[in-house]
């Protein structure tokens, strides 16, 4: 009889231990979310929603300014100039620029040249133009851009006790090549406050 009670007690303990350990085990769960929505993980850095929001704000401002109405022809040729990253983060600035390029191309008012400017696109386009020249024996016609687009990312960090605020500024300018005049400029800011924050970046 005593043996039976001990066995039952041991059995119960074993079941309890199993439940305890299985409770500690966290199953990996992954779900697909809208990268441009509020379900994206929010951190003190620039997340996917922030990039989309900043790009959207800049596009809306550029199109609302009617700056492209004075373009010498349609579509106007645009070369993407440097994008300076003055944040503490190592980010691919195409996260911003690609969205701007896609939006401006979709409007039908802008055609983006790849034979000028910096980056891998310019290199590939230049090589393609050289190859075309070699094969055809004719000098490739390169369209001179009407506008250049310049952008800069800035991060400002402020701390007050355990509260840290990272303010990200997305600055963009559109310059008319012929006159050198800035025909549109905008700055969009996203400020993120984090309680008990550590450092952001590298």
């Amino acid at each position: 009889m005593k043996h039976t009670i001990t066995s039952r007690l041991l059995g119960l303990l074993a079941v309890g231990a199993m439940l305890t350990f299985s409770g500690c085990e966290t199953a990996t769960e992954t779900r697909t979310v809208d990268a441009k929505g509020p379900d994206a993980i929010n951190t003190s850095a620039i997340n996917s929603q922030d990039w989309a929001s900043a790009a959207d704000g800049l596009i809306n401002s550029l199109l609302s300014s009617n700056a492209l109405n004075n373009a010498p022809h349609t579509p106007a040729i645009l070369a993407v100039d440097r994008v300076i990253n003055n944040t503490q983060m190592m980010v691919d600035t195409d996260l911003l620029i690609k969205k701007i390029r896609v939006a401006l191309t979709n409007t039908g008012k802008i055609a983006i040249t790849n034979t000028m400017g910096l980056g891998e696109r310019a290199v590939v386009a230049s090589e393609a133009a050289e190859l075309d020249e070699m094969q055809s024996g004719k000098k490739a016609k390169i369209l001179v851009p009407d506008y250049t687009l310049y952008a800069k990312l800035i991060q400002q960090t402020d701390k007050n006790g355990k509260m840290a605020q990272n303010t990200y500024s997305f600055q963009m300018s559109l310059v008319a090549v012929k006159t050198g005049l800035t025909v549109w400029e905008e700055e969009k800011q996203i400020a993120k406050q984090t309680k008990g924050a550590g450092a952001v970046g590298w």
């Binding site: 929505g37 509020p38 809306n60 609302s64 969205k99 896609v102 939006a103 979709n106 409007t107 039908g108």
Partner: protein
């Protein structure tokens, strides 16, 4: 005449001050002033509302929606929204675009945006269709 003990009076005073501070700390309503007779002539459009979340509809109200054209042939939509609550609320909104055939345009600028509103604040949200093919729009809100 029965006198109230000094300690109880002191406690009452502290409580009263705390209540005043608490109430003032919670108040974040916005007072607005504007021209009595507006000079603007907005092109206000009639809208259809589909409410599936009554709590959200009781928090934020779309006062009006007006439409304009920018950059020659691109539609710009601006909605005036009001926080119906007496405290700060944050909602998310998104504009979607539809072409002449009723097809949704997968625009690069269709993103959920976060909108913090102070108590009773009225503000404007706007977007520009990045495609000249856009003729209609849909404005969505979520908490």
């Amino acid at each position: 005449m029965k006198t109230i003990p000094q300690s109880i009076r002191l406690a009452g005073g502290v409580l009263a001050v705390s209540l005043v501070l608490f109430a003032s700390g919670c108040a974040s309503n916005v007072n607005s002033y504007e021209r009595a007779e507006s000079q603007a002539t907005p092109n206000v459009i009639a809208d259809k509302r589909i409410i599936t979340d009554n709590t959200l509809a009781g928090t934020i109200r779309v006062v009006s929606i007006n439409q304009g054209t920018v950059s020659g042939n691109l539609i710009k939509i601006q909605a005036t929204v009001e926080n119906l609550r007496n405290s700060q609320r944050t909602v998310n909104y998104k504009f979607e675009w539809i072409d002449q055939d009723g097809m949704a345009l997968d625009s690069a600028n269709e993103t959920w945006k976060t909108l913090p509103l102070q108590g009773r604040e009225t503000t404007s949200i706007s977007t520009v269709a990045i495609s000249p093919r856009a003729v209609d729009f849909r404005l969505k809100f979520r908490e």
